[in-house]
Symmetry: C2
């Protein structure tokens, strides 16, 4: 199975992880960055649903498992030196655990951090009161 | 100077670094991912030219310094938990040291890695024979 070839081209770091940038495939919106280990890459390629590795929980993190906000993989790309992944995805709902469409809602403008997007849904609605991505 | 407030909101890792995703501001193309330390963030904000920290060279990496392919900062954004930066930039020429517009030119398709973009310029032209980003 040639997914091993793809895995072989990825340069995981000393902790066995690689950063993965998720981008909405049709609009180009950068949604989030998270981390993957080998198992997460394999699962993502085989199920076409994005699965990360949660560094805080030290466990696979099937995006949307608790929130329902799934990421469907359109294409996985690898950068020139193999140490970053770009995931073109179709994001259901919102990518950010704060209820915003993407995680990059704070912009440095005139020396200050300005919130440039409001939540589309409350975290309580997403998670029913328990904190998780 | 309130750039310190912006720095204070960034969660640098144990090595004092934070990943930064560079995106072409008008087309949405994800160009590359590299790393910044505090000094690189400050220099980028003050000069509006993107400066990374090279993990291999352990030194500030003023993007385009040797290749001429500068990245002009349009906006710096911070993600929800402060551990990733998104840089909206205007890229002169090509972002990738291979001479491609962006670094993510290998796509996993049908279980194989396929090159989906060709170099626009040769690395020799960019660097005159010495390897660098």
């Amino acid at each position: 199975m040639s997914e091993q070839d793809i895995l072989g081209a990825i340069r995981f770091d000393a902790a066995g992880l690689v950063p993965a940038v998720a981008q909405q495939h049709d609009t180009g919106e950068v949604l989030m960055l998270a981390w993957m280990n080998r198992e997460a890459v394999l699962e993502t390629l085989s199920t076409r649903r994005v699965c990360y590795f949660s560094r805080s929980r030290r466990a696979l993190w099937r995006k949307g498992e608790s929130s329902g906000q799934l990421q469907h993989l359109k294409e996985l790309r690898l950068d020139c030196d193999g140490d970053t992944l770009l995931l073109l995805v179709d994001q259901e709902g919102v990518a950010c655990h704060t209820g915003r469409r993407n995680c990059f809602f704070r912009a440095a403008r005139d020396g200050e951090l300005v919130e440039i997007a409001a939540p589309l849904v409350s975290p309580e609605t997403l998670y029913g009161g328990h904190a998780d991505h």
